[in-house]
Structures are given as C-alpha cells and as structure tokens.
C-alpha cells in the first residue's frame, strides 16, 4: 500500500456513491497492480456492479477518485476510458443484434482504428486496408476463444455460453490493458466454467490485468491473486483467497447465502 506508482494500474481512492441517503458504495479504496487478477466478491446488493459503473464512467462517484495509469478518470466518458485501455463486460449480455459474430468483435476495434469519415466515406485504400486488418485481428481473437466457425452467424443465434465468450472477444478486440469482468461465469455450465478459467489464465499471461466480479467461488478462488470482499458497499475483507475464505466476517456476510453451497 505504500506509494509505488509504477506498478499500480488502477487506483480507487475513497470512492463513495450515494443514492438518496443510502450509500451503495461507501469509502472504498483499493489498487490493482499490473499483471494481477483481482477478485471482487460479496453478497447480492453489496455494490459490486455499482463500483464497476463508477470505475468505467457509467456513473459518477459522489466523492472519491479513480486513477487509471495515473490519469484521473472521474468525469470522463466511458468511450474515453475504453480508449485509455480499460474495458468492461456486463452481467447481462449485450450483444449487438443484427450484427454477425465477427462484426460484433470488429466494432470492438473501433477505438484502435483511425480512419475518419472522409476516408471511409470515399473508400480510400487506407480504409480498405484497415478494414482487412481489423477483420484478421478479430478472426484471431475468435480463434483463441474457439468461436471461429460461428464467425458469420448472427451474434444472437449463439447459445448462451458462446454469447458470453463473444462479449469477452469484443472486449479483447479493444486491446485492453485492464479488463473488468462482471460475472463472466454467470449461466455457464461446469465444463464451460472450466474453459473460462483457462481462458482467463491465458489472458493474464498475455499481460492483461483483470478485475473480476464473480459469484462462482471456485472460479474466483482459483484464479485470483487477491480477493476483495464487499458488503453493504464497504470493503470488509481483503487478502489471498485462502485467507479471505476463512475470515469470520466474510463467512458471516455470506451466511445462508452462498459460501457453504458454493462449488469448490
């Protein structure tokens, strides 16, 4: 926690979000270092998704600061934050309807391409070349996720588990330095969850930093270097997965609502 500025990729400082008089997120501070996977857990309504919204610019914190790569991102638009290299996925799937699988991924390259209206409008060679590069890059991402055979199907025709992967592919197309995943394993069967675990390890080994909200304890405990536990908008515990699992406060917060039933 001492100020070594070099390794800190994301720094959240005393962030609070009030809805009326109620604090959905209350004085939360933590840092995520480059190259690590941080798990964010907590019972339903603990404020995890709100915290994601505050970090990615969807909502503005009532008070507090969020720094990404040392840049104050509070007040920036989500697309500006994405362009900085911090990309998120959603708890509920948001695939672009009416677009094929590959097109969904190509849109993710939007912030990494520079052709303006003029050159794409006039179909200059530069625009053609960029389109082709984007296509190839997107195809490689689909291959990595095993979706390449569905590239030209409508995105919404994929089974649920593959739609989740498609969202991940779209996020990866933005070439993120940091990925924020909101319940990536929601609705996946145990086999798919296993595959996702390996995939996240691979993404990490490619140098992407991850912040993962997840209900599946097995997944979180498996992949996370450190786990933060949120309850009623406040951090009640943090540390290595095994420490957190045995923390009495955490067990209390979850009592009757999960940790006992969670598949390890």
């Amino acid at each position: 926690m001492s100020g070594n500025g070099n390794n800190e990729l994301l720094k959240v400082e005393h962030v609070t979000k009030l809805f009326g008089g109620l604090a959905a997120v209350n004085d939360v501070s933590f840092t995520v270092n480059s190259g690590e996977i941080k798990g964010l857990i907590g019972p339903n309504g603990a404020g995890k998704t709100t915290l994601f919204d505050l970090i990615t610019g969807i909502q503005r914190p009532t008070s507090g600061k969020v720094y990404f790569k040392g840049i104050d991102v509070v007040g920036m638009r989500p697309d500006e934050i994405t362009s900085l290299g911090m990309v998120r996925t959603f708890q509920t799937i948001k695939i672009f309807e009416g677009m094929s699988v590959i097109e969904n991924v190509m849109v993710g390259r939007h912030s990494r391409t520079r052709t303006g209206l003029f050159s794409s409008g006039f179909l200059l060679p530069r625009s053609r070349k960029e389109e082709l590069e984007t296509f190839e890059h997107s195809m490689r991402i689909l291959e990595m996720l095993g979706l390449e055979t569905r590239a030209f199907d409508a995105g919404t025709n994929l089974p649920y588990g593959q739609q989740r992967l498609l969202e991940l592919a779209r996020a990866l197309a933005c070439e993120p330095e940091m990925l924020l995943l909101d319940e990536p394993a929601a609705g996946l069967n145990p086999y798919e969850t296993q595959e996702l675990t390996q995939l996240l390890e691979r993404i990490k080994s490619d140098g992407v930093t991850l912040l993962v909200v997840e209900h599946n304890m097995g997944l979180v405990m498996n992949i996370s270097d450190e786990v933060i536990v949120l309850d009623y908008g406040e951090i009640i515990a943090r540390g290595a997965p095994e420490e957190v699992q045995n923390d009495p406060k955490v067990i209390e917060a979850y009592l009757g609502s999960g940790i006992g039933n969670a598949k390890g």
Partner: protein, 301 residues
Amino acid sequence: MVLIIVTLALKKSTGLQWILSGLTVGSIYALMAMGFSVIFSSTRVINFAQGEFSMLGGMLMYTFSNRAGIPALYSFILSVLIVTLIGAGFERLVIHPLKKPSVITIILITIGLSIFFRAAAKWIWGTDTLAIAPFSGDKPFKLLGATLVPQSLWIFGFTLLTVVLMFIFFNRTILGKGMRAAAENPEAATLVGVSPPATSLVAWTIAAALGASAGIIIAPIKFVSFDVGVMLGLKGFASAILGGLGYAPGAVVGGLSLGVLETIVAGVFPSGYKDAVAFLVLVIVLLLRPQGILGRQEKLE
C-alpha cells in the same frame, strides 16, 4: 384500393407511368428518409431541419449554376459541400456544447433551426419560385410506353449510388459498424470505445449531405423556393416512419412506396389530395404498425 387496382389493370401504360413518376419522387423521399433515419438511429433525435438542408441545397445550386454560371457538376458538388459543412458545423457549435441535453431539447432546437434557415433563405433569395435547368436537357423520352424526363434518370441513378454507398459505409467500414452498434445499444457501444459525440457528428454530416443532394436533384422538376423544405421534410419523415424509423433499408422502401402511392392517388383523385396521402399514411402506420414496414419493435429500456 380496389378502385386503384382496377384502374391500373384497365390502363396498363398509365399504370406504368404512375409507377415511374412515383419512383422518381419516391427516390427523393427515400434520400430524405435516410437523412432522418441516420440521425435518429444514432441520437434518437428527429431533425426537423432536415427539409431545410434540401431547400438550402436547391437554393445554392440555383445561385451557383444559374447566377454564377458554374457548370452543373461543380455547382452540385459545391452546394452539397456547403450544406454538409453547415450541418456538421451546427452539430459541433450548437448540439455538441450542450451538457447532457434531453432528446426533446434537441428536437426543439432543430425546429428553431428550420425556422431560422427559412427566414434566412427568404431574406437572401426572396419569395420567388426559382427554376433550375435539368442536368442534361429536358426533352422527354419514352420508356415502355411511359414518358419520362431525363432528370428522372439522374434521380434514379443518384439514389441508387447513394444507397450502395450507404450500404458499404454501414457494413464494410469500422466507422459504419460503430454507428450501427451505437444505434443498437448505445451503452454497450460506448463501452467498446464508440464515442457518442463522434457518432452524432458523423450522423449530422451524412444527413446534411443527403438532404442537400435530394433538394438539388429534384429542383429541376419541382422548382425551388424558400419554403420547399417544409413539405419535403414532412414527406421524408412520413417515409421514414412508413419504412421503419432508424432502419436504412426501411427508409428506401418507405420513400419509394410513398412516392408511388402519392402519384397513384393524384392520378385517380383530384391531385390536390396528393399531399394528404403522406399524412394519412403517417396516421395509419402509427396506429397499426408503429415500427414501420421493415422496422423492428423498439425495445424499451
């Protein structure tokens, strides 16, 4: 309806005449409807100044080609360019600086803008109806028994070219895909890096260019005056609603259908009823099929 079909069957050549004339004016409506569609789909705003872009296009064309004697092609390019800059400039200078404007605020601003443009045009060009020479002569020719003026071919050709270019832009370029993504799901689009201000600027630029072109190519047939934008805008709007607002192929289908329907009604009934068709269509579509012919049901947030 029955009456129309019977009449069509009785007079085949008349039927074809109506359809070709209808497609001519329908092409213009289609271009207008695409203008409405592109702004609506990326910003949820109806731009009530869309018709004024056409009027300005026609007026500038008149000034450059008739007054200044610049060749038609250059006048066309120059006029479209100026109106496009006006559209883009308006987005940048008026809409962009607004902090979190509501959709209704922007719609009211566009109404204000249309009134301003009409007043400005009245001041600059006066209230006369101005004629523009057709691009390549005005000698009518026969096509399958129907009579057409050469300008109709220019209109068909230009509309076809525009539709193809729009298709390529929205399907084959990253920028176009981003625009579609923003139309589908604005929140998810911004999270993959599609910038709402950029999308809005591109939409206004395209809409202004479409409006100006439509106003210029129809001018040799219908003339131009400071108030032509009102009717053109409303017909384009009705076409966009008919085909499915926010959906580009719908705009084309809506425009062509309305053009043909209008011409048939003008042929069967006294032609004064012609303008009522668009509004009747508007009311019927909004009552029976609000998403339009091709449109998908809008999902509520």
